[in-house]
Amino acid sequence: MTLSRTAAPVAPKTRPRAHPHRAPGRRRRVLSYWPQYLAISPFYILFAVFGLAPVLFSFYLAFQRWDGIGEMQFAGLDNFKYLIKDEVFWLSLRNTLLIWVMSTVPTLCLALVLAVMLNSVKRFKAFYRMAFFIPNITSVVAISIFFGALFATNYGLVNGVLETVGLPGVAWLQSVWGIKTVIAVLTVWQWTGYNAIIYLAGLQTISTDLYEQAKVDGANAAQVFFRITLPLLRPIILFTVVISTVGGLQTFTEPKVLVGDTAGTGQSGLTMVFYFYRQAFSHNDYGYGAAIAMVVLLVVALFTILNWTLVQRGQDGENG
């Protein structure tokens, strides 16, 4: 009943067919497809040059000591040893995880609600979809500057509104939680629409028969949502969770613009990527920067796998 289940058995069917071919014959066959390979090559060439090569170089660099210009010195595991006792790194990891949770959970919940609402819209469909997608294609730097003005402590609009209704103003960008909140709000604003559009696409694949049947059986709106919509959307939700994890754990531009190189009060805007940027490009400590980047990669992979298993397990439980 799910996409992943039906997709799995397809692969083995094609594989045995390819097997009997001997090496030379196969090579000739591969060569005969050269126009096709040429056609898809730009992506792979670009990826190799601008994606793969820098990643491999960073991996190499993580075991070196290098100031960017002079000779590299092999440092063994020194960079990683230092990393373990580096309190600032652990702080940046905590910051990253907190900001990730504070932004991803509201983003996905809001997106789902929005998608259900969008799905029932009869008029101006294209307009709404575009309106919700626009934040996502707006420059992050521009948005961050704008949010910086909105949440300014003394002359910001948000505090202005709070004070008019008699509430005390908040030192948004001068407090540990304020900084994280502003970054999270910014992320929610930018990514809710994007995820809503993806959910909307998922919702439209659900057969209306199921809803009609539920109606006949006397299910109420909540039951329809939790018993039909949510389970059928699971693969889509998995996709958005993974994308949000990969993106959210690499937050950088927002804090860099909002609180600058100091990363704000108690360095509470210092995310992992921000920290490795600062080590490599502000302090010219490229080896250590690369080591941090490798750990970022590890953390992102770890959380992606964790998300994957959690969402998948939930699904198995339901079916069994």
């Binding site: 994606g51 210009i69 600032v88 002359y155 001068q174 690499q250 600058g260 990363a263 009060t265 490009f281």
Partner: protein, 430 residues
């Protein structure tokens, strides 16, 4: 949050296109710059927007008609692009700018640049400020960076607000009444008492950095020894902590929206900053024109910023490159740089030229060179280590804890020193 695949592809395509352009350009370059220390007729210059007077740069072609001069304004992270280019040993410029905050780092890479003394810079030494010349020289005496501009600091203040609060407001009176940090802070307390919600200091880190700049030592010495736990840093720390304790700090990041709004509203009527800060104030608080004045900084001047021109060792025609540099940075042209791009001259002869002695309407007709000129001459010489930025960071972070989280300054100091030592060990400073 993330770079989409489309954006990555766009970036990739753009990169490829520019690489292709670069390759063709390089082919052209190779013919001419093949001979070392050669006599290339084509010279390129890298600088950033506002790094030199564009008019002076444009005039190079007429001044040196035998040379094809190719200036490029490199946008974005200038240092990173220069480092990448040096590392790849391709497409090197014949002359390049180096920003003040990066000069210590490039001193560690002195071998990548030519010693300007060998090209005859020694004869010009007397025309430039001594401390700035030293800043551009490696420890072995090689001159790497030729002085462009400097950033002598002063106290910018709004005379109207000072007057309203019953503080001295004329330049001479402010100079007399706020000659030291202590008297400056006292006036800050008075200011706050007279006009609640008005602050003398933008943020603690500003006081800290200025006070560090007033001494002859920084965070590490030439032997890679950590000296950030010594008295000169401790004094600066205490001054910053005192500003917080007295409640005269506005606690906002300078350059942010809040600080700009406060300049306009008069709730932050003072700013400690380098000469180039005048431009920031003018653009952020245009409506307050005529109300600002400049007085000497409490307890003496410091320097913030100011850049250099250098000749990479791969330069196609070092002799000509040096001629161009010295022409672009002679006193007359430095005065033009001051007019066009607010670059404060490093050649004192320029201070007597009309461009600098003119009265500034924004500062109520004050002749600001009367403050900046003497300040420029009195800036203390300190050894700047390429590790200063790493070592400074824990102090700035802990100071912000004191300022915004109410952390005990004593505990914060201990933590800052410990963190700075740990960071120092990593890079070999102990």
């Amino acid at each position: 949050m993330t770079i989409s695949r489309r954006r990555l592809l766009q970036a990739g395509l753009f990169g490829m296109a520019s690489a292709a352009v670069g390759v063709t350009a390089a082919c052209g370059d190779d013919d001419s710059s093949g001979t070392t220390g050669g006599d290339s007729k084509e010279l390129s210059l890298w600088y950033w927007s506002g790094g030199l007077s564009d008019k002076v740069v444009a005039a190079v072609s007429t001044q040196f008609p035998d040379i094809t001069f190719k200036p490029t304004q490199v946008g974005g992270a200038f240092k990173d692009k220069l480092v990448t280019t040096i590392t790849s040993r391709q497409f090197m410029p014949d002359i390049t700018g180096i920003k003040g905050e990066d000069i210590a780092y490039f001193m560690g890479q002195a071998g990548q640049f030519l010693d300007l003394n060998e090209l005859g810079a020694g004869d010009l030494k007397a025309q430039y400020l001594e401390w700035k010349w030293k800043q551009g020289s490696a420890t072995d005496g090689k001159l790497i960076g030729f002085p462009i501009d400097i950033g002598p600091t002063a106290l910018f203040y709004r005379a109207d607000i000072f007057k309203k609060a019953g503080l001295p407001s004329e330049v001479a009176d402010v100079t007399a009444a706020m000659g030291t940090w202590d008297t400056f802070f006292e006036q800050g307390v008075k200011l706050k008492a007279a006009l609640p919600g008005t602050f003398m200091v933008g943020e603690a880190a500003e006081v800290f950095d200025m006070a560090v700049g007033q001494t002859t030592k920084r965070y590490a010495d030439a032997d890679k020894k950590f000296i950030g736990d010594q008295e000169h840093i401790r004094n600066a720390w205490d001054l910053a902590a005192k500003a917080v304790k007295l409640g005269i700090s506005f606690k906002v990041q300078s350059g942010g929206q809040d600080a700009n709004a406060a300049w306009n509203q008069g709730t932050l009527p003072a700013k400690l900053g380098a000469a180039w800060v005048a431009l920031d104030i003018k653009s952020a608080a245009e409506k307050t024109s005529g109300k600002w004045r400049v007085a000497p900084m409490p307890s003496g001047p410091a320097n913030q910023g100011g850049s250099f021109l250098a000749i990479p060792k791969s330069s196609g025609n070092p002799k000509k490159a040096f001629e161009i540099i010295t022409w672009m940075l002679n006193a007359d042209n430095q005065a033009k740089g001051y007019t066009d791009a607010a670059l404060f001259p490093s050649a004192p002869a320029a201070y007597k030229l009309p461009a600098l002695t003119a009265a500034d309407e924004f500062f109520g007709g004050q002749v600001t060179i009367d403050v900046f000129g003497p300040a420029a001459a009195k800036i203390p010489v300190a050894y700047e280590s390429q590790y200063d930025s790493v070592l400074r960071e824990p102090f700035a972070a802990e100071l912000s804890n004191v300022e915004t989280k109410g952390k005990d300054p004593e505990k914060a100091w201990t933590d800052a020193v410990a963190a700075a030592k740990q960071a120092g060990e990593r890079v070999g400073v102990s």
